[in-house]
């Protein structure tokens, strides 16, 4: 009942969507986060293909390897993209302007999280088909369920990336520091994501992958809650 206070109920949404639109416009004009993310994700796939010697591999081995490589590519691309996006916010000293405004800090976190999530999903739109092609996976998958699993896992990564990314950028350090802080904490997401994806790539369903989809959901909820609660502490001195 206190949220936003200065805004009416619709006012918070209007302010948040104005911020979202401004960030989107910036991204469309510069491509500063998405372009390096796409490049990075593709490079991870190619490097994996070369180092694991994919052409020599049988279909079973390829299928076993694919989920891990997919999630490695997702995780690192997210780190690169969020570090970029949040670093620009810092360089232009915009955090302060946003904190100054009456916009509720939880709403601020929500907007930045949503942006991270959408960046991740945009990368996956390219990355998943590419993985299927590179790893020569059978196309008969539950695509909708795969999309849901990716959404949950990417959402959890985006929540950690938003909270800890705003922290590393306030230190003036970029991707390396963010990786060090995010990846260990994100290990449940990476385990659950790979396990779920493995089942789905083998033609199974989310139910077959139990309990991993539940872990994805739980980590998403936990990290969103932590982000919303701690975001102000990271940003306000």
């Amino acid at each position: 009942m206190s949220a936003g206070a200065a805004h009416g109920a619709g006012g918070v949404a209007r302010a948040a969507s104005a911020l979202f639109a401004a960030d989107l416009r910036r991204e469309l004009r510069t491509g500063e986060a998405l372009v390096p993310m796409l490049m990075f994700a593709m490079i991870v796939l190619v490097v994996a293909g070369v180092t694991f010697n994919l052409p020599e591999m049988g279909p079973d081995d390829r299928r076993r390897l694919a989920p891990g490589i997919l999630w490695t590519a997702i995780a690192f691309a997210m780190l690169v993209g969020q570090a970029r996006a949040l670093l620009v916010d810092r360089d232009e000293e915009r955090w302060q302007g946003l904190l100054l405004s009456p916009l509720d800090r939880t709403a601020l976190f929500a907007v930045k999280w949503l942006e991270g999530l959408l960046l991740g999903l945009a990368v996956e739109l390219l990355l998943v088909p590419l993985t299927v092609v590179f790893f020569d996976l059978p196309p008969g998958l539950h695509w909708g369920q795969l999309a849901l699993a990716l959404l949950l896992g990417t959402g959890g990564l985006a929540a950690l990336g938003t909270l800890l990314g705003s922290l590393t950028t306030s230190l003036g350090r970029g991707e390396a520091m963010l990786s060090i802080l995010v990846l260990p904490v994100a290990s449940p997401i990476l385990i659950a994501g790979s396990m779920t994806t493995a089942k789905l790539l083998a033609g199974g369903t989310l139910a077959d992958a139990s309990p991993w989809p539940a872990v994805l959901l739980a980590t998403l909820g936990l990290n969103l809650a932590l982000g919303a609660l701690l975001f102000e502490s990271v940003l306000v001195e």
Binding site: L171, I180, S187, P188, W212, N223, L226
Partner: protein, 238 residues
């Protein structure tokens, strides 16, 4: 601040700390080396258990304390809480390191391999990495207030994610038969239980002594840098 001797502890406290540490160490070694019987299958290496497991418990204790201190710091912004948090992350990391070193030594002897992706070891490794991050954040910032704030956030995020890390690693490895059940665990001999409890108390006493010393050092560190900043300030004012 009143005049302090050129040590964080002062002589009486240093002696008390040393005595506490020594008592803890002796209790641990007595239980593990003298009192406990030799385990039939694994032999003497099983005695690492009396050191390894209490170390893991104390690592967790340190990290939970760091998380609580972090929350308190963020709420009050009083550097006293940060001093506790700083000390607790340091000792927690020490015990976690010991877990990671003694674990493989045991594994090498008992199972013939240095590393297994055994759930408890894997969890310890991940935990250790999380809290190294919390220490690293401090090294990176030159602004004491900022590093305190950020280290608090990492400690909280780390501690609250630990249960999920623990559960998921266990489920991940859960389908495999684990050798970690030392014999039938319920059938731990009574002498072994006594030695285990002695180890638990001993390591905790050692931890308390180290934690106190690290805490006082952190306090002294803050006090000294405050006076240095003040002196600097006065020099500039002139």
């Amino acid at each position: 601040m009143s005049e302090r001797t050129s040590s964080a502890l002062g002589r009486p406290a240093a002696i008390a700390c040393g005595a506490l540490f020594l008592a803890g160490a002796l209790l641990l070694l007595w239980g593990a080396m003298l009192y406990a019987p030799t385990e039939k299958v694994m032999g003497d290496v099983q005695r690492i258990f009396y050191f390894h497991v209490p170390s893991a418990a104390n690592a967790m204790l340190g990290f939970v304390l760091a998380g609580v201190a972090g929350l308190a710091y963020l709420a009050t912004r009083r550097s006293g809480w940060d001093e506790i948090g700083r000390a607790a992350v340091e000792t927690g990391t020490l015990w976690a390191t010991i877990v990671l070193v003694t674990g493989p030594i045991w594994a090498r002897s008992a199972w013939g391999t240095w590393w297994t992706w055994e759930p408890r070891l894997t969890t310890s490794l991940i935990t250790w990495l999380i809290f190294l991050g919390a220490m690293l954040v401090r090294k990176v910032s030159h602004n004491a207030e900022q590093s305190a704030r950020l280290a608090s956030v990492i400690a909280i995020v780390g501690v609250l994610n630990l249960p999920v890390v623990y559960l998921s690693v266990h489920w991940w490895r859960g389908n495999h038969p684990m050798i970690f059940k030392r014999g039938a665990e319920g059938a731990l001999a009574p002498e072994m239980w006594t030695a285990f409890v002695a180890g638990m108390i001993g390591v905790t006493l050692m931890h308390v002594a180290l934690l106190y010393a690290a805490w006082r050092t952190a306090q002294l560190e803050d006090a000294v840098s405050a006076r240095e900043r003040l002196a600097e300030h006065e020099e500039n004012g002139r």
